[in-house]
């Protein structure tokens, strides 16, 4: 990679990071708390790239005759170095910089969607958690909004005693339209980025109407019904509505 091309690539990557945060698309890939780091590193890389580009444009282009002088970063294939035990050559590490443009191209053209139903059954097996003691929910007029993660944890805590019969509200996407006696709702929890996503699931029993399509987002209201034989906690549905996908599709 020539200095100009390299600097351009660094500039593009920096701009892309800032753009991801501005557009909000970054929430499909990483947790919300990363925003300041993405902006800071994006600005840093953009400045590094821009400075390099300006510097390279000011300098006269190196003539080929000078290429093999030490420290010239101009990509050039034909000098193998005897002392280099590594089979490649000096500039291999820079040629590979081209690959840095791959995520740039992917993101500029088609921002890949947030993780969907494809991976739900593929993360580790479902087990309701126990070990945390929850205070009982207050049964009031309005249902209590819970994350799917907390719904599962409460289900694992003393057989769901902490639900105390209260109505709860869950939001997630349909992972399996037909899941035994109901519909499987899921939502991912991420700690850092989508690569470490772990799905939390619940089975909706008694959902009125035809089973909704895969990957439809639903907000449902109902009461805890128990844990199914497969370890999935179940909700007896009292009401449901389709909702647009939330801005942050993951639970953190």
């Amino acid at each position: 990679m020539s200095p100009r091309t390299g600097a351009t690539a660094v500039l593009l990557v920096g701009v892309l990071l800032v753009r991801l945060v501005v557009s909000g698309d970054y929430l499909r890939y990483v947790r919300g708390g990363m925003a300041p780091w993405l902006v800071a590193s994006g600005v840093l890389l953009a400045v590094l790239g821009a400075a390099g580009l300006v510097g390279a444009l000011r300098r006269p282009a190196p003539s080929p005759a000078h290429d093999h002088h030490a420290h010239d970063h101009h990509a050039h294939d034909h000098h193998a170095h005897d002392h280099d035990l590594d089979h490649g050559h000096d500039h291999g590490g820079e040629r590979v910089g081209w690959l840095l443009l791959a995520p740039v191209v992917v993101l500029l053209l088609v921002a890949p969607p947030a993780l969907g139903s494809f991976g739900v059954g593929r993360t580790a097996g479902v087990t309701v958690r126990s070990g945390t003691l929850f205070r009982p929910l207050a049964a009031g007029a309005t249902p209590v909004a819970l994350t799917l993660a907390e719904f599962g944890q409460r289900a694992g805590d003393r057989g769901g005693a902490s639900f105390a019969g209260a109505q709860v509200e869950l939001t997630g996407f349909v992972a399996q339209p037909r899941d035994g006696s109901g519909v499987r709702l899921a939502r991912y929890q991420i700690a850092c980025c989508a690569a470490d996503a772990v799905a939390d699931v619940a089975r909706l029993v008694g959902l009125p109407g035809a089973p909704p399509a895969r990957d439809t987002w639903l907000t449902v209201v109902g009461t805890f019904r128990g844990v199914g034989p497969d370890g999935v906690p179940e909700l007896a549905v009292a009401g449901s509505r389709a909702v647009p996908a939330p801005v942050d599709p993951y639970e953190t």
């Binding site: 294939d77 053209l109 993780l115 593929r122």
Partner: protein, 339 residues
Amino acid sequence: MATDVPPRPSPSRPTDGPAGGSASGPEWGLVAVLGLLVVAALARPALADLLATPAIANWATVFVAIAVQALPFLALGVTVSGAIAAFVPPSVLARALPRRVALAVPVAALAGAALPGCECGSIPIARRLISRGVPASAALTFLLAAPAINPVVLVSTAVAFPGRPMMVAARFGGALVAAVAVGLIWAATGDDRLLARAARPEPAGGGRLAVFAGTARGDLLSAGGFLVIGAASAATLQTAVPRSAVDAFAGTPVLAVLALAVLAVLLSICSEADAFVAASLRQFPPVAQVVFLVVGPMVDLKLVALQAGTFGRRFALRFAPLSLACAVAGGTLAGWWLV
């Protein structure tokens, strides 16, 4: 892998020809970048169709997620590396370490605790340390220890395992022991000539700021390119092999330890986040979870790609198996003893 990656048609052939033709003029690279964007824009409808396939969409999301998540840490790493190159006089670092390798290696491991970040950032720094005359064994120990034992990672481990501080202690101890072991073994039997690429000094000339920016940019381009290779292979494996595939091994301790070691290598999760995934692998015994936490920051697909790119392929071929063996042993020991 190649069949899964149509969204990036042009970057996948960085090695054919054009570099050889660079003598024809300095602008070909910019032209190629623009051409790449135009071709990709024309292919946009095809790309959108591909993303309608759930498996490909999943691949693309994980690929982009790993790259985006790692870039800030990589930026931190190349900034430190550039700053060392520009502002720290040569030989200061080498003199700061104890002369005897048996002491220098543990000191380097503990110094890793001061770098708040994850594994991607520590590679350019270790490379700069080597080019500044720090013994390779000490720099490699730093490289392995920093991502596993720094405060940010330990706190996230404590959060992921509430009420189980011994998991944090086992992770710290196992990683420290493994990193020191690798350093000492490398000092005794390693071939530093394999690191010739890293030992080459950075380009001289220009002001300090120019050296800083030039070093940071160069490190970012080489490390970033290999990060992309690692992210692509990790995304491919995550998409092709369900995580639940390892469930069958959970019942037998030896197999469970090996299965989670392999999983840690394949998943390539950032060390700040791997504790949450380990905690979700509840069907596995705690010792296997500790091994997962010790192996992940030392050996995984994206790290091996980064090491191969930074230090050379032949180095990575020796270093990765050595680190893996030490990490599995260290994690198992710490796990049996502490949890």
